[in-house]
């Protein structure tokens, strides 16, 4: 176990360095964007005088490197500063949005992960049957269509034609949990359809890969029923790749859902990032990107730890 803790600590340290590098890259990419915040805020009504006044008020008259170091010294103390445009605290603005995104991702993952793994096992068991083909075609179709299109299809059939679910999420603070699940069902379902194929096919492939191994042959020869061969003998050895794919998809559920947010008007962090980029609101862009980067780092770490824990050879190295 000590080795795992060591690994986690080492990876977290590396993660911090990666985050620092990312923050530098993002800062200078935002700087490279044409125009500046003052122009973006004032729009058509901009005149040279009020542009200058606004730039001064926002601190844009300072050189870029000074502004970056200013921000960094705050960020080290976990103070991400204030939004340049609205003047409100970034952590406060982002945290609620991030909680919404996490909720939706969890909701979708809670449906998608069990379904795709169970489906993966079933199609591995019934490989090359009609069921296998249908499941593959269906999931591949849903992953191949853009997610906004899937969203529109679901809206058309489940909201407009049958009015089973609301077409827009429109959250409010006084909703109870059941209501929340009901109102966010369509966006969650869209995400489920987008991520299922990847996880299901990886489960299937990993299991089928193992079915040619001699120990599976042995299990079959001693008369074990096919489902037991797969669940008890093949699956434990297939966990590592499956966990990796699941982790990747979870990261996608958090970082890649801006289109779904737009289609269902869901107040998540993706929309906040798009708005912030269009206004060149650097502290908000930075905070969003760091959250996304940290999500990837942590989920990859979790996948590695998971893979080690499911593999006795790695768990007890000689």
């Amino acid at each position: 176990m000590g080795d795992i803790l060591g690994l986690v600590a080492k990876r977290l340290g590396l993660g911090l360095i990666i985050l620092l590098v990312i923050s530098v890259i993002i800062f200078f990419m935002v700087e490279l964007l044409p125009g500046d915040i003052a122009e973006a805020v004032l729009g058509q009504g901009a005149t040279p005088e009020n542009l200058a006044a606004l730039r001064k008020e926002m601190g844009l008259d300072q050189p870029a490197i000074v502004r970056y170091l200013d921000w960094l010294s705050g960020a080290v103390m976990l103070d991400f500063g204030n939004s340049i445009v609205t003047g409100t605290s970034v952590s406060q603005t982002i945290s609620e949005r991030f909680a919404n995104t996490l909720f939706l991702a969890t909701y979708a993952a809670a449906i998608a992960v069990p379904i795709s793994i169970v489906l993966g096992i079933i199609v591995a068991l019934l490989r090359n049957s009609i069921f296998d083909r249908v499941a593959n075609v269906a999931t591949l179709t849903s992953i191949s269509s853009p997610e906004f299109f899937l969203g529109y299809i679901l809206i058309l059939y489940l909201a407009v034609k049958t009015s089973m679910f609301p077409a827009i999420a429109s959250l409010s603070s006084d909703m109870d949990f059941g209501d929340l699940l009901y109102r966010t069902f369509l966006p969650a379902l869209t995400l489920v359809l987008v991520v299922t194929a990847h996880m299901m096919r990886m489960t299937r492939a990993a299991i089928i890969n193992l079915l040619a191994s001699p120990y599976i042959e042995m299990a079959r020869l001693k008369g074990t029923p096919p489902w037991k061969v797969i669940v008890k003998h093949a699956l434990p050895n297939a966990w590592a790749p499956i966990i990796n794919v699941v982790a990747l998809n979870l990261a996608y559920l958090i970082t890649g859902v801006v289109l779904v947010e737009v289609v269902f008007v869901y107040p998540g962090i993706g929309q906040a990032l798009v708005d912030a980029v269009s206004k060149r609101d650097f502290p908000v862009v930075q905070a969003c990107c760091l959250i996304f980067a940290a999500t990837f780092i942590l989920l990859n770490l979790a996948a590695d730890v998971g893979a080690i824990l499911t593999n006795p050879r790695l768990r007890h190295p000689k």
């Binding site: 044409p34 805020v41 004032l42 729009g43 058509q44 009504g45 901009a46 005149t47 005088e49 009020n50 006044a53 606004l54 008020e57 939004s83 445009v85 609205t86 003047g87 603005t93 609620e96 949005r97 529109y152 809206i155 909201a159 407009v160 009015s163 609301p166 077409a167 827009i168 429109s170 409010s172 603070s173 737009v262 289609v263 269902f264 008007v265 107040p267 929309q271 906040a272 708005d275 912030a276 269009s278 206004k279 609101d281 908000v284």
Partner: protein, 536 residues
């Protein structure tokens, strides 16, 4: 109400209301002057002009164009979310009535010195902020000063450059002094930036808290997501029939329309023109297609050959079939232009100027006169100008062939169109938002020395009239001057105006509105929340 003369007056008022000659607000005003109680007058209006509004319900309003980085600062108002919210939770000195006339808001009346250099606005003593504080002259002064001075970051600064001083005249009157006479000042006060906010007492205003003196107060909300508002019981105005207003930011056109169809919202602020015809087939949905003051213009540089010849300019104006463009490009959601930059819904629109029609033969003969037969010109356009702008120019080029004119449509990149193409290329297409008065529009884009004089048009008489009209307080004289300016623009100017684009928005089942809607913004001049009601 017992005297016979009163009865006659009321009948006359009621018939004026029926024919739409006066607005509901003016009607109430005159009725009160005739000694009628407010409830009796409301009843009379209801029987004579429109269905009677009823109170109650939650108005769910889906609005487009909102960002999470928007703020309550009136100086940076730019998105529709900010503008709609501002007209719901804040008030202005004056407002645009549903019949597009100027009406009272926080100011009950206003008058100018004969040279129009000093304006006095009397404030409504009943006006109050949501915090309970009455609206005083100091609040108004600080709210306007927010847009003045070197330190101001306001986008509306240019509108107040002529203002030299703003001072109080007692608690309930404000005097605005100008360097030059401006008869339009009360109209300018309807500009969406000039919202009245509570003063901090030190010359600044408190815009951050979101307090206002409008019909609804903000209960909770977040920019870019949604707002929950409830009726401000002490509001000084007429209306605010809904108990609560929920404003949802729906930037995606599809999400907006679906929400309306499924009943998740009662009204949406913009409909996609492509699907307009489909939506109109839904019996539960009423689409409002309202002419606006926003225009598509096609400026030609009057100092550059071949556009330096007025015959060439007029030939190009005659070579356009506007009806076909409106039908095929705007799907009917536009109002035909007549080559002067003033829309029928704006003040001083001259109704007797003949419409310029498609006439390729006359265009041909004008070209012959100019010695420019077989004219060939380049026209710059980008897709971002207007939905279908490139198609519009291609269609125009086809129409112009009948007049023997060859127009090469040059498609320019969207990025930097207004910095690299507009004002630089001799013939281009441009989109303009509405300005409150002809004076503002003409001074901005047609005056000889204006930075944005997009057609580089120099007309002595026009510029003379422009200065004269600005300080003229006599309404009929002024209207006559604007009429002459419009004729000059139409017959000598360098700008083709194919159409004024309409506001297209829609209401769901049960949402009623008065007979007229203001054309200054979408959704009844952005005041749907305080002017509309649910049918019972």
């Amino acid at each position: 109400m017992t005297k016979k003369t009163d009865k006659v007056l009321m009948d006359r008022l009621a018939s004026a209301a029926r024919s739409g000659d006066i607005s509901r607000r003016s009607f109430m005003h005159f009725a009160a002057a005739a000694g009628m109680t407010a409830s009796a007058a409301t009843g009379l209006w209801g029987t004579s002009a429109a269905a009677q509004p009823s109170r109650g319900g939650t108005f769910r309003w889906g609005v487009h164009d909102g960002n999470s980085s928007d703020t309550h600062d009136p100086g940076t108002y730019v998105t529709r979310q900010m503008i709609f919210l501002a007209h719901t939770h804040r008030s202005y000195l004056t407002l645009i009535e549903p019949d597009n006339s100027l009406g009272p808001d926080v100011a009950t009346s206003w008058e100018a010195t004969p040279d129009a250099k000093e304006w006095t606005f009397e404030l409504n003593p009943d006006a109050s902020f949501h915090s309970g504080k009455p609206v005083t002259a100091q609040d108004v002064i600080d709210s306007l000063n927010h847009h003045r001075g070197d330190a101001s970051t306001s986008a509306a600064k240019a509108l107040l450059t002529d203002v030299t001083d703003i001072k109080a005249d007692g608690e309930n009157a404000v005097v605005i002094s100008l360097a030059r006479g401006n008869a339009d000042l009360p109209w300018l006060m309807t500009d969406y930036h000039f919202a009245i906010c509570p003063s901090n007492g030190d010359g600044t205003i408190d815009w951050k808290s979101g307090d206002g003196c409008g019909p609804y107060k903000i209960e909770s909300g977040e920019f870019g997501i949604q707002w929950a508002l409830s009726r401000h019981d002490g509001w000084h105005g007429e209306g605010a029939y809904f108990d609560k207003v929920e404003m949802l930011i729906l930037n995606d056109p599809n999400a907006r329309q679906t929400a309306l169809v499924t009943g998740d919202v009662n009204c949406v602020s913009l409909i996609e023109l492509k699907t307009l015809a489909l939506l109109e087939r839904n019996p539960d949905i009423k689409v409002d297609n309202i002419p606006s003051g926003g225009a598509i213009t096609m400026p030609m540089h009057c100092d550059t050959a071949p556009f330096d010849d007025v015959n060439v300019r007029n030939a190009l104006k005659l070579a356009m079939n506007r009806d076909e463009i409106i039908e095929k490009i705007s799907f009917g959601a536009a109002t035909k232009g007549n080559d002067f930059h003033l829309s029928p819904v704006q003040p001083y629109w001259p109704e007797d100027i003949p419409q310029r029609e498609y006439d390729p033969d006359q265009a041909k003969s004008l070209l012959k006169k100019a010695g420019q037969e077989g004219l060939s010109v380049n026209m710059s356009v980008a897709d971002s100008v207007y939905t279908g702008a490139v198609d519009m120019c291609v269609l125009y080029a086809e129409q112009a062939k009948a007049a023997g004119i060859n127009i090469n449509v040059v498609r320019e990149p969207n990025d930097g169109y207004y910095s690299d193409v507009w004002l630089k290329k001799p013939f281009s297409a441009v989109s303009w938002g509405a300005r409150p008065t002809p004076d503002v529009m003409f001074t901005l884009a047609y005056k000889d020395d204006a930075a944005w004089n997009e057609s580089r048009w120099q007309n002595e008489r026009f510029n003379e009239l422009l200065l004269q009209a600005k300080g003229e307080l006599d309404e009929s004289l002024r209207a006559e001057m604007y009429r002459e300016m419009c004729v000059l623009m139409r017959d000598d100017g360098g700008t083709i105006i194919p159409f004024f684009n309409n506001w297209v928005y829609a209401r769901g089942k049960g949402v009623e509105r008065g007979e007229d809607v203001a054309a200054s913004w979408s959704c009844d001049g952005a005041r749907a929340a305080s002017r509309w009601w649910f049918s019972t």
